[in-house]
Point group: none
Chain length 426, copies 2
């Protein structure tokens, strides 16, 4: 089964926005054995959109279109699809009622413009959108190249360009349809995630597991400091794929040990949150350079109030002294970015909040503030717990955003190891 | 003049690599008045590459191809181009000599495989590569749709996929050629950003400005709740483009007023941070449901310590009472998510931190915790300042992440209006 992906939007062809939707869709499609013929980005032109859908439909079995379903005059995907199908657009009453009810709930009247978002080509199927006001569309183009054979069916799925809306719609309605049409080889994919050491260190520890010809194949990819293993198994039956996948996953765990914190859609903060929920313990924070990011991670999960008590954003030295009682002389002598200050912050936060754990982060996120002995990227992280305080100093590479993000993730990692009764292996 | 961009590589269609080359090329092309019809990503298949070049050549005046010029068996762009041109590949001796000399300088003999990188279609022009071993190609496809008129010329430029090699080659050889063919159209682009009302409301307020045929053209796009106006002006001289752009920007400002918070690369938190730097004033926060996200935004900017003092993460009711003195009875009577509690938090934060402003956010981010009168998404935001406290209640749509993000952005918006001496217009 062969598919192409078409992304619509002037911002894409003008180079103002990167087409991340197509990459995400490709990965999803590969997982069910669908081959990708091509990606296309087309501007907000009805004729261009229709032309590319037509050309692509000559070659593939399925076309995934994203974008151009907004309520404004430059959203023309549904009109272009109607052109290709040679059918008029029709109002989908259930969707219109849904959108009207949505606006009503927000205490507003649906703007007239939003009505277009309930229009779909006659004969096509409406796809539900749980995250926005644009309905998706599933249509079929029937090609009859040869009168002696049944017409070839090309599935066309049109989804909103907003990634969240697109992903929800794809996973619920489009993916199962393609999976049922797919057939053939079984492809299983799995991701294992690590944080703390670099990609080349992970690769060295994996050794032969990363050989190119191997099946299941093991590759690495890095995003936001998280080094992930991509494992792909391709076999002609599910049983073989599953048992070989299991074997390779076990070998990866043996090679990397506790460096692996989770798999697939699991996040570092999600794993730490779950560990806290399970242990019934609580945490507080005292953040300087991360400025709220660590707490943001800890509260990303629904139900985080069961383990996250709160904290202090001690950005200024006055706040460090006034709110958490850090001796101004200590700050003066050791510097705000020092292990004694981080330790004092963590201890005070744990005591004041009455929690089992408290994390403190003080560092130099840059671009200014670095010195010869404490360059930009120097970050002290302390974890106060019932048996003492763990304190570590790191020097993170990268810009302000990276230093802040790696600091928060390292603080979470310190807590993850402590919750498992272990200390950092690096 | 109309162009399309084609990127070659399995890693692109498999979604393992984002196509950043096309975005870069689009921006460069737009700057000399070349319109972009489309982007295409095609895998390492000679037939697919040839097909997309052929299809695209029917529509545009120039095709920019990147990738597939490496020395290995899956690099097939030059062969595909030769197919389209219906000419054989020929050895380019000057380039071969250059590559051989390059390897010699490194003390190595050129691997046999690299010879293919000196092959270009007969009649095509070789493009020099200062940063690698693959020669580029400039060919012309002549379309003769109508015998009574001269054939239409489509320029095809093929460049390596390695960004550094591609960019060097483009700027030296391809850009000047396109500029000379461009016919002098000047295209200017500008973005204006708003936050607070939906895309359809922005579109309604813009009215005729969004008409499709208008020049400069005005479109809208949404990302993270930020509704942005894209303005594109196309004229045959710079003076006209600049004056018309200025006129349209002014009209947009007249239509939307203070809803517009910034332009082009400016962010909401960046604008608010700059306003605070300029006024020399300071801010603190008391965050409940946003759990640090508001402070994270306020500290994203280098130098934020000049205006951000710190704050309290009062996630639990105990923290609200203990750290910021909110009367537990008030919380019991009104609920933690209520305007009186938000107001009390903001006032106490401002007083304790000794800042000019303090923002407090208390809400129900979900998915749990909603009630009939206070559904998920209900968020109370208070801003304490020298002349009193502004308090507002919002109901934000979407999931936990969206509710938290919109809450933080709305808090920043409240502060932005106050810093300008105004109150929210919605």
């Amino acid at each position: 089964m062969l598919a192409s992906i078409i992304s619509i939007g002037d911002e894409l062809v003008l180079g103002q926005t990167l087409d991340t939707n197509s990459a995400w869709l490709s990965q999803r499609l590969a997982a069910v054995g669908v081959d990708i013929s091509s990606h296309h980005c087309v501007g907000d032109s009805q004729a261009d959109i229709a032309r590319v859908i037509r050309e692509t439909s000559n070659v593939v079995d399925a076309i995934i279109v994203t974008g151009g379903l907004g309520p404004t005059d430059d959203d023309l995907t549904r009109q272009a699809l109607a052109d290709v199908l040679e059918t008029p657009l029709e109002l989908n009453q259930p969707w219109l009622d849904h959108v009207k009810a949505y606006f009503e709930k927000l205490g507003r009247v649906m703007p007239e413009k939003n009505q277009i978002q309930a229009m779909i080509p006659a004969g096509a199927k409406m796809l539900w959108n749980n995250n926005g006001t644009a309905a998706g569309i599933h249509a079929t183009i029937a090609h009859r190249f040869d009168r002696t054979r049944p017409p070839r069916q090309v599935d066309v799925f049109v989804m909103p360009g907003v990634p969240k809306e697109m992903k929800g719609m794809f996973d619920r309605d489009v993916f199962p349809h393609l999976q049922s049409r797919g057939g053939g080889a079984v492809i299983l994919q799995k991701m294992l995630h690590t944080f703390g050491v670099g990609e080349s260190t992970v690769a060295e520890q994996l050794g032969d597991l990363m050989h190119r010809g191997r099946n299941p194949r093991v590759g690495t990819t890095v995003s936001g400091g998280i080094v992930s293993l991509r494992i792909g198994a391709r076999y002609d039956n599910l049983a073989a794929a599953e048992s070989q996948m299991l074997d390779t996953v076990q070998r990866c765990h043996a090679a990397l040990g506790d460096l692996i914190f989770g798999e697939d859609t699991q996040s570092l903060h999600g794993v730490v949150g779950e560990m806290l929920k399970q242990s019934g313990e609580t945490v507080a924070v005292a953040e300087s350079c991360t400025g709220g990011l660590l707490a943001k991670y800890l509260t990303d999960l629904p139900g985080s109030s069961s383990y996250f008590q709160g904290g202090w954003l001690v950005y200024s030295n006055e706040m460090k002294a006034q709110e958490l009682g850090v001796d101004p002389k200590l700050i003066e002598q050791q510097g705000a970015v020092s292990e004694p200050v981080a330790e004092a912050l963590a201890k005070a936060a744990r005591q004041r909040a009455g929690t089992d754990y408290a994390l403190a982060v003080s560092g130099i996120a840059g671009p200014d503030g670095g010195t010869a002995t404490k360059p930009v990227g120097t970050v002290c992280i302390a974890l106060s717990h019932s048996r003492g305080t763990d304190v570590r100093t790191f020097v993170f590479p990268g810009d302000r955003e990276m230093v802040r993000d790696r600091s928060a993730k390292m603080a979470l990692t310190l807590l993850r190891y402590r919750l498992a009764g272990k200390s950092l292996p690096f």
